[in-house]
């Protein structure tokens, strides 16, 4: 029994750290080689506090978490700030781990390589279990808040995330800090459970265990790393003789999983009715192997090698199969019941929320929260006497290639302006310069009276210019609804602490409103029926529409559409024209549109600018453009004079 308790406590401790790494690697998409070092920081801080200064466990653990967070931010800031590739962060954490080891081995306070023996045994199965449950709950809450969605968005496509106004550095730092806090907690618990720590415990092996747990469990999931980490602690206990081979196995598993099944056990999904049988299968396999190995050990002396092995194999297989069917049976039984249970729970919960709403929240705060997601009022389009977007002498070259060469363009409020031109004429570059993706070489872009040159993409987006991409850049592992909800991040009005705890009376009501608003937007774009589909599985045309919905969620004044009709058939393009007209009117939008489908451009735009070789060669109404000889030449080539013969 004590043995089972030990295994349980160990798993719980490692699961806490694995949850942290799941947030950081699985969701944020950054690679760390040093989470064991953050555990070491937490462990040593907490242990020193209880050992030398006789603090109680709770404040010591909290202190360990705080120190771990501070250290992680110092280590992470230089690489994350420079927007370097994940490789550099990995090397920074690795270096930190090595440096920390040397420091711990040489410091008097940590008693060097001998370590700290005889730490009070303050952590046991019970409080560890409580911490683990708390950790999972907080992680789940965090991921379901605007903060969490921002981080998930960065993990799926950092460029697209920036383009919906999510700043990378603070959010990546948040993810790092959060994950380091959990690592620190895990380390502190470990120190007070095993009662003896030394630098060697927090070696690469430990980081490998955590990485293997997250990767094999599945990136973008909490359930997966939970299950996998538990397995990695339990299973090696069964095969004690193979201790040395355990790490070989982790390594091989990492390679195999990445190559054959990158989503691991539960990649981008959480435990649900659909995958309940899978969990039972895994548990069945583990239990089967456990019973099998015990039986084998017991019967080898009596029966001999082969019969005992056969017995063990048969029993293991039997248990696995039985558990598998038990899982399927349970899923089948629960299927009709669960939705009803969920609805009842939801109703009851809402009643409590309303009660709290009435009791605790000042009226004006409620009003403010309610208004948080309403469209911001726009200036009357007709009254404007300055252009909303004004581009003057815009130039950009890449090496020797001049992509944009002295382009002028004015876009007045409420207009739909078309930007056309042959391939490579610099249209998308104009968008990229306007939205801050590339720095401007020379010229000026003024939006709403403010100069945009030198501003970051995120601040440009937040000042009211949102865009779509030529190559669709959705958060393809999120659902359609989540894609739009993520873009509503500016409307989330609750703090980080609230996000962790999810007070029903602030967070949940805001979240409810965000969801409603997102559904409205999906309604506008006619994607309401697909709200729960994973975005990457949508047909191409619908993905383009979803990108528009996501851009609209930012409540832009100006919408830049980069080839919205690319790859659509004539009927779909016509629908798109209607759609753009509808949102243009309904949201009082100003639109600039790059498009090759001339019927779309001619139908929609009141004014068209034509680019060729980076220069603007014409601007005017559709009729003027259609009869402009320069434009015809750019599109169809030089007119060949037909010389009649004879």
């Amino acid at each position: 029994m004590a043995y089972a308790q030990a295994i349980f406590t160990n798993s719980a401790i490692y699961i806490i750290a694995a949850m942290g790494l799941a947030i950081f690697t699985g969701y944020t998409g950054l690679f760390s080689l040093g989470h064991a070092a953050f555990m070491a920081v937490g462990a040593y801080t907490a242990a020193i506090l209880t050992y030398f200064y006789h603090w109680p466990l709770l404040p010591a653990l909290l202190m360990g978490m705080i120190v771990s967070v501070l250290v992680s931010l110092v280590v992470g800031y230089p690489t994350l700030r420079a927007k370097l590739r994940s490789d550099y962060f990995a090397i920074a954490t690795l270096g930190f781990g090595e440096a920390l080891k040397v420091i711990l081995e040489n410091l008097d306070l940590t008693q060097g390589a001998r370590g700290l023996p005889g730490i009070q045994k303050l952590a046991g199965p019970l409080n560890t279990a409580v911490w683990m449950v708390l950790t999972i709950w907080v992680c789940r809450n965090f991921l379901r808040s605007t903060y969490g969605r921002k981080i998930i968005a960065i993990g799926q496509d950092p460029v697209a995330a920036e383009m919906i106004g999510i700043r990378l550095l603070p959010n990546q730092m948040l993810s790092l800090g959060f994950s380091a806090a959990l690592a620190g907690l895990s380390g502190g618990l470990l120190a007070h459970y095993v009662t003896f720590i030394q630098p060697a415990i927090f070696s690469m092996d430990l980081s490998s265990l955590l990485t293997a747990g997250v990767v094999c469990g599945g990136m973008g999931s909490l359930t997966g790393p939970f299950v996998a980490t538990a397995l990695f602690v339990v299973v090696p206990e069964l095969f004690r003789g193979l201790a040395l081979w355990r790490l070989v196995l982790y390594g091989v598993l990492l390679v195999v999983i990445m190559n054959l099944r990158p989503k691991g056990l539960y990649g981008h999904e959480e435990l649900s009715l659909g995958n309940l049988p899978k969990l039972f299968l895994i548990i069945g396999l583990t239990v089967g192997l456990t019973i099998g190995s015990v039986l084998y050990r017991d019967y080898v002396p009596e029966w001999g090698e082969i019969p005992a092995w056969l017995l063990a194999a048969v029993v293991a297989l039997g248990v696995t199969v039985a558990m598998n069917y038990a899982g399927r049976g349970l899923a089948w039984l629960l299927r009709p019941v669960l939705p009803r249970l969920g609805a009842t729970w939801h109703r009851g919960f809402n009643r409590i929320v309303r009660l709290f709403d009435g009791l605790f929240i000042p009226r004006e705060r409620m009003a403010r929260t309610a208004g948080a997601v309403d469209p911001r009022p726009h200036a009357d389009a007709a009254a404007a006497d300055t252009p909303l977007l004004s581009i003057r002498g815009l130039s950009k070259h890449f090496g020797g290639v001049v992509a944009v060469d002295g382009v002028d363009l004015d876009v007045w409020p409420g207009q739909i302006v078309g930007l056309i031109g042959p391939n490579g004429s610099g249209k998308t570059t104009v968008f990229n310069l306007t939205s801050g993706v590339y720095p401007i070489d020379s010229g000026a872009v003024t939006f709403d009276g403010r100069a945009l040159a030198g501003q970051s993409p995120t601040s440009i987006v937040l000042s009211g210019i949102s865009r779509t991409f030529q190559n669709i850049r959705l958060f393809s592992n999120m659902t359609v609804l989540e894609n739009v909800q993520t873009a509503l991040h500016t409307a989330g009005d609750y703090g980080l602490l609230a996000a962790f705890v999810q007070w029903p009376w602030t967070v949940q009501s805001t979240e409810e409103r965000l969801r409603t608003r997102a559904m409205e937007l999906l309604g506008v774009i006619e994607l309401g029926a697909y709200a729960d589909r994973v975005a990457g599985t949508l047909p191409y045309g619908l993905q383009r529409k979803l990108e528009i919905a996501r851009a609209l969620a930012l409540q832009p004044k100006l919408l830049l559409l980069d080839e919205p009709a690319a790859g659509m058939n004539p009927q779909e393009s016509l629908d798109l024209v209607e759609l753009i007209k509808r949102i243009h009117e309904r949201m009082q939008l100003t639109v600039v549109l790059i498009e090759h489908h001339m019927d779309v451009v001619m139908n929609l735009c009141e004014r068209i600018a034509v680019l060729n070789f980076g220069k603007k060669i014409a601007e005017g109404t559709p009729d003027e453009i259609q009869s402009n000889p320069l434009v015809l030449e750019a599109y169809l080539g030089q007119k060949v004079e037909y010389a009649p013969q004879g």
Binding site: S86, D87, L94, L260
Partner: protein, 296 residues
């Protein structure tokens, strides 16, 4: 004294450079840090140990060549098994890094599990043979390793500049897709790349083994070569060389310095990583690195 330090630094630095080149070559084309390269270096040293000490009594030069060949082939197999599918699927570089990490963990611990953690010495090639230049001692082995490393890197440079494959590799480091569209067989190109990187790594492994010892974690990613490559700027060949040399010199310098009663050599690793941290703050892309921008 200072001359001696510089000589020590250069001799170890040249080996670092040799290893760092392997990291940078792969990074320049495939855009990920091949953490498994260190394991290949280690295996190269073990091959030399196996054929020079354990099983046969092969003399040094043939053993060196066999190690180079063996490590090259191992690196090639490593790519085949662990990266090829990912590369073809255009998986994010995170996946490639994790896979590389897996190979590194598996190979290192495979050595622990089979051969064990014992340290083995390679036989001295030029026994006790050192000569003096201006008061500084130069061991013949160090000189040999230095010259050999410089020649190998020089050959690599010429190969990259003046051969067809080299040109293709350089082109691929700018735009792999374009190179493939132009009719270069990417699989062959990557295979050559890993053969070269692995071969250089094997050579470095043998030199390391002769200079110090052969043990499973000698090529673990905390080895200075990777840091050298990062300092020089990942993906840049001159960067890898300068970074490796610089780190070697710095280490030699730190090892002989004492501040008060504290011997800095204890904190040698902290210094290497400290330099790295400072550099990343001042010049995030390394000395010769370029920032890769994504096309929208």
């Amino acid at each position: 004294m200072i001359l001696q330090t510089i000589i020590t630094g250069l001799s170890i630095g040249s080996i670092y450079a040799l290893m760092a080149v392997g990291y940078s070559l792969v990074f320049s084309v495939l855009n990920f840090s091949n953490f498994a390269h260190g394991a290949i270096i280690t295996l190269g040293a073990y091959i030399a140990w196996a054929i020079m000490v354990q099983f046969l009594r092969v003399p040094f030069l043939p053993a060196l060549l066999l190690s180079i060949l063996g490590a090259g082939i191992l690196a090639f197999l490593n790519e085949r098994i662990a990266y090829r599918t990912l590369r073809r699927r255009r998986a994010p570089s995170l996946y490639l890094m994790i896979s590389a990490m897996g190979v590194a963990i598996a190979l290192q611990n495979l050595l622990y599990a089979t051969i064990g953690a014992k340290l083995y010495a390679l036989p001295p090639v030029f026994a006790q043979d050192a000569f003096e230049v201006g008061g500084a001692t130069i061991s013949r082995m160090d000189l040999f390793a230095f010259v050999f490393s410089v020649v190998a890197i020089g050959l690599l440079h010429c190969g990259l500049m003046y051969t067809k494959v080299g040109t293709a590799i350089r082109a691929a480091s700018h735009d792999m897709e374009m190179v493939s569209v132009l009719g270069v067989n990417l699989d062959v190109l990557v295979a050559v790349l890993f053969l070269i990187a692995g071969g250089l790594g094997g050579m470095a492994g043998v030199f390391m083994g002769v200079k110090y010892m052969v043990y499973p974690s000698m090529g673990w990613i905390t080895n200075k070569a990777y840091i050298g490559a990062v300092i020089g700027g990942l993906g840049s060949l001159p960067g890898a060389i300068v970074g490796g040399m610089l780190l070697g010199l710095l280490e030699a310098l730190v090892s002989v310095t004492t501040i008060g009663s504290v011997q800095l050599s204890t904190y040698r690793d902290v210094f290497s990583f400290g330099i790295l941290a400072i550099l990343l703050i001042v010049r995030p892309t390394g000395l010769f690195g370029r920032l890769v921008e994504e096309k929208l």
